[in-house]
Symmetry: C2
Subunit: 201 residues, 2 copies
Amino acid sequence: MQISPLLESLMEALRCLPGVGPKSAQRMAFHLLQRNRQGGIKLAHDLHEAMINIGHCKECRTFTEQETCTICANTRRQSSKQLCVVETPADIVAIEQTGQYSGRYFVLLGHLSPLDGIGPSDIGLDLLKKKLSSESISEVILATNPTVEGDATANYIAQMCAEFNVTATRIAHGVPVGGELEMVDGTTLSHSFVGRQKIEL
Amino acid sequence: MQISPLLESLMEALRCLPGVGPKSAQRMAFHLLQRNRQGGIKLAHDLHEAMINIGHCKECRTFTEQETCTICANTRRQSSKQLCVVETPADIVAIEQTGQYSGRYFVLLGHLSPLDGIGPSDIGLDLLKKKLSSESISEVILATNPTVEGDATANYIAQMCAEFNVTATRIAHGVPVGGELEMVDGTTLSHSFVGRQKIEL
Ligand SMILES: [Zn+2]
Ligand SMILES: [Zn+2]
């Protein structure tokens, strides 16, 4: 049934959001049309601006519309000489919320996955190597997901760190095996930072 | 924490969608940025177009960007002389999916609710009265929600129909009491149409 082509397009377009099926798309479309058109217009604007203007930080690869993100640009953060490697920008949000960490980050935007053709340069490890060789880094904290791929990626980076005599640690306690870092509660994540262990190769 | 003002704005704006809290807003924003920017841009465009251009059908008050919706403009629909009264445009979608009904609709966009100051003219009953007096309508099917307010609204409209000697029926079987019409499965809704009863005043 085609009541309104614009409405049909909107319901179809809403399904690009994760977890939104035909039924929730319809609920969302009708909710905005009936109760919150101003909110819908603002969302359309903010969404367009974000998709067009947000790029990646040239230092850590996280999402930002600036050349360098606010964390990388922060001199107090730089002075800690710690670098925490995560798979996604969402992991930074989760770690920041613990309040346990005051160093900088490096975002892989993925993990090594040879079967999918994802190698070191696809997850920015050439850039990380440059940082290891040129910057004074005291410790690389490997906070990739506790999955097979996350562990393999952490080990690969730990070997890279060893070449440059940089200590590599892996977050440990509390993070449930097979889970996604982004979904872990703050307390568990705090514990995993406190209990981190040096990787013995 | 403020990594990126544009990203913060987007996550805040996404929360105007029903059922979207801070955590899902973040997931949605990162998902689009990381995996589907084209989808995000299209959604922004379609959302803006829909919010700006979709108004209400001048015959039935449902959402449409045209003056008259495709159902009202359909001459086969007009010839059935039936008018089905529903609370929301989403109810039309649900009823159309049953394939049981081939008449026209009238959308209240709400229900009578004296405590909230919602009276007959707020739900378009002045327009409905005009239709009852000027058009040849054989039956008004009252498909408001099976709630206290929906029942009261149906009774009020049935009395209006009586003034114009138009038969009013209420959908009956299968619709669970206290539920929302929009959420009912197609089979149940089909039964409720077949088993509709004349309202005896
Ligand atoms: Zn950065
Ligand atoms: Zn119409």
